[in-house]
Structures are given as structure tokens and as C-alpha cells.
């Protein structure tokens, strides 16, 4: 294993490792999701999580926000949600007779958009536009969103009734799309053991059973400066010319594959590069290596490619095709 190039990288890697460990104390077996969340945070990207309900997505984001001492908000997307419910609106102040700006829950550092595909397309569009531009216009005023700003959206891949599937152009705005898997039997046992130890909390004359959220520590890991330094260090991670060739090779192969109707966009290549830099920092390196590309390819590329009708008719899946592309690139 190569060594970090400077003590600063070493310190920042240790800082990021501490965050992962802090999350690991509360959330069991979601190391990859934590890593992907940190990658999105360090590269100012956004993360889409696909998975069944009950996989501790909210707990994970909550824990990360507290570990990083960042503001956190959660919005449950529903069919009747309006853009103003997210972005905010102007309210008429009856006393002064003037309009007063009410900022929506998007004005936060970490926003969990739960079941984003349940909202109407205009709401999805409003959120995704704000994600891209990092600013919101309310009335005549434009407000910059806080920094860092990270949206973690979730969607249930199974339920289709009453949902509005995100089109490819909007999916492309998510830097990463990670598919959450169920925990292994060992991890499941650990989850149950921890749950047994939660106990109750007495409040006044009553008591309430504690949840995992009560176990999340309010103490931050490191300082805000550490996070800024980590973001800065991510952008200084060295990317070699050879690594660029690897990236272009993978992206190009998705465009040439006969089973793919839509290959990766240039934005996918940029995302692959940025995410690889963040992953390198998290793993204690000051340069990217092929492992970064191959580890991130599924989360970066899979939601940006579309199978041809013929491939769909033959029962192929995007995962199979992408694995085939990755295997072909090393053979």
C-alpha cells in the first residue's frame, strides 16, 4: 500500500476515518454508503440511494450530519408536495404590509429527499435545478444555498404505482447512485443486539423506548475547518494522464457497447474523476489508481446508461452490461 504524500493528507485521512467509525457506531454494515456520502460531500456532488425502506438511510444521514456538525433536514416527498414546500416562499406580513421571505428546508447542509420519485415532476425539477445551481430564487431575490450543500435522495426501486420516474437528464445530475443491499446475517444479528440494548428514556412522569436516533452523539468529529481542508485536499489529489486514459476508456466503452442505447455522458466522466479523487483521499492516497474507477463505476455509470430494446428483450440488465464492459477493459 502506498503512503500518503504529506502529513496533511494523513491527518485528513484519519479525520475521514474517524467520521466513518462514528457512523459505524450507530449504523451497522453500511460502510460503502458512508464512503459514498463522504465522496459526494467532498466533491460537492449529490447522492441518490436506491433501496428498500428500513435500511437506516435517515439514521445514516442524521449521524453523518451530526458527526460533521452540519445542518440536516429531511423531506418526505409526496404527490401533493409543492416546489414552495421545499424552496420556500414569500409571505405577506399583515403588520408591516410587506412580503417576508420564508426559506424552505432546502436551506441546509445535508438534505434527505426521501422517496424523491413520489413527487410530481415540477417538484423534482425545482429541487434538481437548485441542486445544480446551488441557489434559489424567491420572488425577486436570489439566495445562495449554504455550503457545503449535499442532497441525498432516496427512491424505492420496486414500487412503481403512484411514482414519477426521474428522467435520465435529471438522474445525470446525481453524481452517484448507490444501490443499498440488505445487511448480511452477521450484520443483521449485530443490529438486533444493539437494538436490545437501547432501553427506555424517562420523561417527566412517563417513559418512552429509545431509538437508534437517541444514540447519535451530538459531538462533532473534527471541526468545520477540517471539513473545508478535506474538500480542498480532494481537489489537490493528483490525477495522472494514464488515469485519465482509464477513465475515458470506460466512458467510451459504454458509448460503443451494442446493448446500450445511451452511454455515459461527459458529466459521467467528470463525476468518475471527482469521485475517484475523494475516494483516494478517504483511502489515504494523494493520487488516484485504477481501483478507484472500478470501485466507483457502478455508482457513477449505472444510472446514466440505458439498455437497448433488444437487450431488454433478451433479459439483460444494466449491471450485467456494465460488468461486461469493466471485464472487457481488462482483457
Amino acid at each position: 500500500m502506498s503512503e500518503p504524500a504529506s502529513p496533511d493528507h494523513e491527518r485528513l485521512s484519519a479525520y475521514l476515518k474517524d467520521i466513518r467509525e462514528r457512523v459505524g457506531e450507530i449504523v451497522v454494515g453500511q460502510d460503502v454508503v458512508v464512503e459514498r456520502t463522504l465522496i459526494a460531500l467532498l466533491t460537492s456532488g449529490h447522492l441518490l440511494l436506491e433501496g428498500m425502506p428500513g435500511l437506516a438511510k435517515t439514521l445514516l444521514v442524521n449521524t453523518i450530519s451530526k458527526a460533521l456538525h452540519l445542518d440536516f433536514s429531511r423531506i418526505q416527498f409526496t404527490i401533493d408536495l409543492l416546489p414552495s414546500d421545499i424552496l420556500g416562499t414569500e409571505i405577506l406580513d399583515e403588520k408591516s404590509g410587506e412580503f417576508r421571505t420564508h426559506k424552505g428546508p432546502i436551506f441546509t447542509n445535508l438534505m434527505l429527499a426521501d422517496e424523491i420519485n413520489r413527487a410530481a415532476p415540477k417538484v423534482q425539477g425545482a429541487l434538481l435545478e437548485a441542486m445544480q445551481e446551488r441557489k434559489v430564487t424567491l420572488g425577486n431575490q436570489t439566495y445562495a444555498l449554504p455550503t457545503p450543500f449535499l442532497v441525498i435522495a432516496t427512491q424505492n426501486p420496486i414500487e412503481q404505482s403512484g411514482t414519477f420516474e426521474l428522467p435520465e437528464a435529471q438522474l445525470d445530475r446525481f453524481m452517484l447512485c448507490h444501490r443499498l443491499a440488505y445487511p448480511t446475517p452477521e450484520e443483521e444479528e449485530e443490529i438486533l443486539r444493539r437494538n436490545l440494548k437501547l432501553g427506555i428514556e424517562k420523561k417527566g412522569k412517563g417513559a418512552v423506548a429509545k431509538s437508534e436516533f437517541d444514540m447519535v452523539s451530538d459531538d462533532a468529529v473534527g471541526t468545520e475547518e477540517d471539513l473545508v481542508a478535506a474538500i480542498e485536499a480532494t481537489h489537490q489529489i493528483h490525477v495522472s494522464e494514464v488515469f485519465l486514459k482509464h477513465t475515458v476508456d470506460i466512458v467510451e466503452r459504454t458509448r460503443q457497447h451494442p446493448d446500450l442505447e445511451l452511454g455515459c455522458s461527459p458529466r459521467a466522466g467528470i463525476a468518475l474523476l471527482k469521485a475517484s479523487r475523494a475516494r483516494a483521499l478517504i483511502h489515504g492516497r494523494d493520487y488516484t489508481i485504477p481501483e478507484d474507477i472500478f470501485a466507483l463505476a457502478e455508482d457513477v455509470c449505472l444510472h446514466r446508461i440505458r439498455l437497448s430494446y433488444e437487450a431488454l428483450a433478451e433479459g439483460k440488465t444494466p449491471q450485467e452490461i456494465l460488468q461486461q464492459i469493466l471485464n472487457d477493459s481488462i482483457s
Binding site: 500500500m1 502506498s2 504524500a5 493528483h238 495522472s240 494522464e241 494514464v242 488515469f243 486514459k245 482509464h246 476508456d249 451494442p258 494523494d286 493520487y287 488516484t288 489508481i289 485504477p290 481501483e291 472500478f294 470501485a295 463505476a297 457502478e298 433488444e310 460488468q323 469493466l326 471485464n327 477493459s329 481488462i330 482483457s331
Partner: protein, 257 residues
């Protein structure tokens, strides 16, 4: 006298009509016993006679007749009558009937004989559907197999080099310092692919996991890590001369040693 006049009147009447049109004859006096139309035995008769009414008269009968002509020309009505009681020919003066046509007689087409012909094929829906289904299945099979063969057809022309052959070219070029960056990237990927093939325990793993395992594998990691240092590190302490001994086994075709 009146009867004679009537007889002469009837005889001298112009019994003429176009082919197929009826000739109505009233009070035609024919002496002797009651007569009737000779029944037709075949299609050779030229007149069709219908006796509408017969009334007794002195020494004979008066007849109302309707006559149709089937053949153009002049005919004698009495040839088509005989005495009803004896079936003997009628003995009286002829009663001429003329059947006229617009065309000259010698140019009239003769009636053609009807020929018995077999009916055409009735129905055929099932057969038609069977043919269509067979054609559809053939078309489908052609589409499927043509599409399947297409990718293969491109490869038939020339044999694709094996992983080791590709590696040999790149390793040889590397030893001579002739690799550009794209070829260096290709060399790195092929070496990863080579080690993945060599180690059965990681051959089936996804590429990302396989690379992670290779980086800590006792045999593979020296080359993989040195390559990373050489190709990706901003300040590399690994030179090409340090890489070459690691690539030498591949040049000799002993990559897994």
C-alpha cells in the same frame, strides 16, 4: 260469310315479331278437331306455342294463341300443332309466322353448348392462415439467427489476439521505453486482467473487488503496486528500470511466475 272473312283476316294477318317477343294471335280458325301444341322433345323447335283459349266453331275451333320465336326466319305455325285426339298433323293451310332480327341471319352467333365445369376451390381460410404462420415463423427465425450471427461475422475474419499476446506486445514496447500514455494504461489494465485470470479465487469476482484483492495478494501486489506508483503517483520513486524486471516474466511468457 262472316266466318270466312274472319278466317281470311286471321290468315292474312302479319304474324311477325322480333326474336323472343310474343306474338298474340286471336280467333285463329282451324278446321277439324281440337288441336294442341306438339310437346317439345328436345331443343330443336323454333317456336314456343301456348294455347290460351279454344272455342268451338263450325267444323273446327277458334284459338287464342301466344307464340314465341326462338329461331329467326319464317315458320309454319301448323307444324307445331297436332290433333289432340289422334296426334295426327293438322291438315289445313299454313299459318306463316315470321321471327325477325336486326342482324343478317348468317351473322347470328350460334348458341354455344353449355359445358359442365368443376367448382373452384371453396373456403381455404385455414390453409391461408397456415401459410401465413409458417412464413411468420421463418421470418422470425431469420431475424433471430441473422442478428446472432452478425457480431460473430466480424470476428471470423481474423483471430483475436489472446491476453498474453497483447501483453507481450506492450511489455516488449515497455522494455524499449516506447509506450505512450494510452499504451501504459492498456498495459496496466491487461496486467490486472492477467492476474485475475491466474488466480481462480478472484476470477469470478467483480472487477473492483478483484483489483482490491490483487493489491494485497502476495504474488500480484509487487507488480500492481509498483505500476501504480510508476504510472499514477505525482512524485514517483519507481523508475522504469525497477518495473522492467517485474515485467520480464511476461516477455518470456511466464507471467504467473
Amino acid at each position: 260469310m262472316a266466318l270466312l272473312f274472319a278466317w281470311q283476316g286471321a290468315r292474312s294477318a302479319d304474324h311477325s315479331a322480333p326474336l323472343g317477343y310474343p306474338i298474340e294471335i286471336s280467333d285463329l280458325y282451324i278446321p277439324g278437331e281440337l288441336v294442341e301444341a306438339i310437346p317439345r322433345q328436345d331443343l330443336s323447335g323454333s317456336l314456343v306455342i301456348r294455347i290460351l283459349q279454344s272455342k268451338p266453331a263450325e267444323d273446327g275451333y277458334r284459338y287464342d294463341l301466344s307464340v314465341y320465336g326462338l329461331d329467326a326466319g319464317k315458320h309454319d305455325l301448323l307444324e307445331y300443332l297436332h290433333y289432340a285426339a289422334t296426334a295426327l298433323p293438322v291438315e289445313a293451310e299454313s299459318v306463316p309466322i315470321e321471327i325477325t332480327v336486326r342482324h343478317p341471319l348468317d351473322q347470328l352467333p350460334a348458341p354455344t353448348e353449355l359445358e359442365a365445369r368443376a367448382f373452384g376451390r371453396l373456403g381455404g381460410y385455414t390453409a391461408l392462415m397456415t401459410v401465413l404462420v409458417v412464413l411468420w415463423v421463418i421470418g422470425l427465425l431469420v431475424l433471430i439467427f441473422y442478428r446472432k450471427r452478425q457480431p460473430a461475422s466480424g470476428d471470423d475474419g481474423e483471430r483475436q489476439p489472446t491476453l498474453h499476446e497483447k501483453l507481450l506486445v506492450l511489455v516488449t514496447a515497455a522494455s524499449q521505453g516506447q509506450l505512450d500514455e494510452a499504451e501504459q494504461a492498456r498495459l496496466e489494465r491487461l496486467l490486472i486482467g492477467h492476474w485475475r485470470q491466474e488466480l481462480p479465487e478472484i476470477d469470478e469476482l467483480p472487477a473492483a473487488q478483484a483489483i482490491a484483492r490483487l493489491r494485497s495478494h502476495e504474488a500480484a501486489s509487487p507488480l500492481i503496486l509498483k505500476l501504480e506508483q510508476w504510472l499514477h503517483a505525482p512524485v514517483s520513486d519507481v523508475s522504469q528500470s525497477q518495473i522492467e524486471p517485474l515485467l520480464e516474466p511476461f516477455r518470456r511468457g511466464e507471467g504467473s511466475s
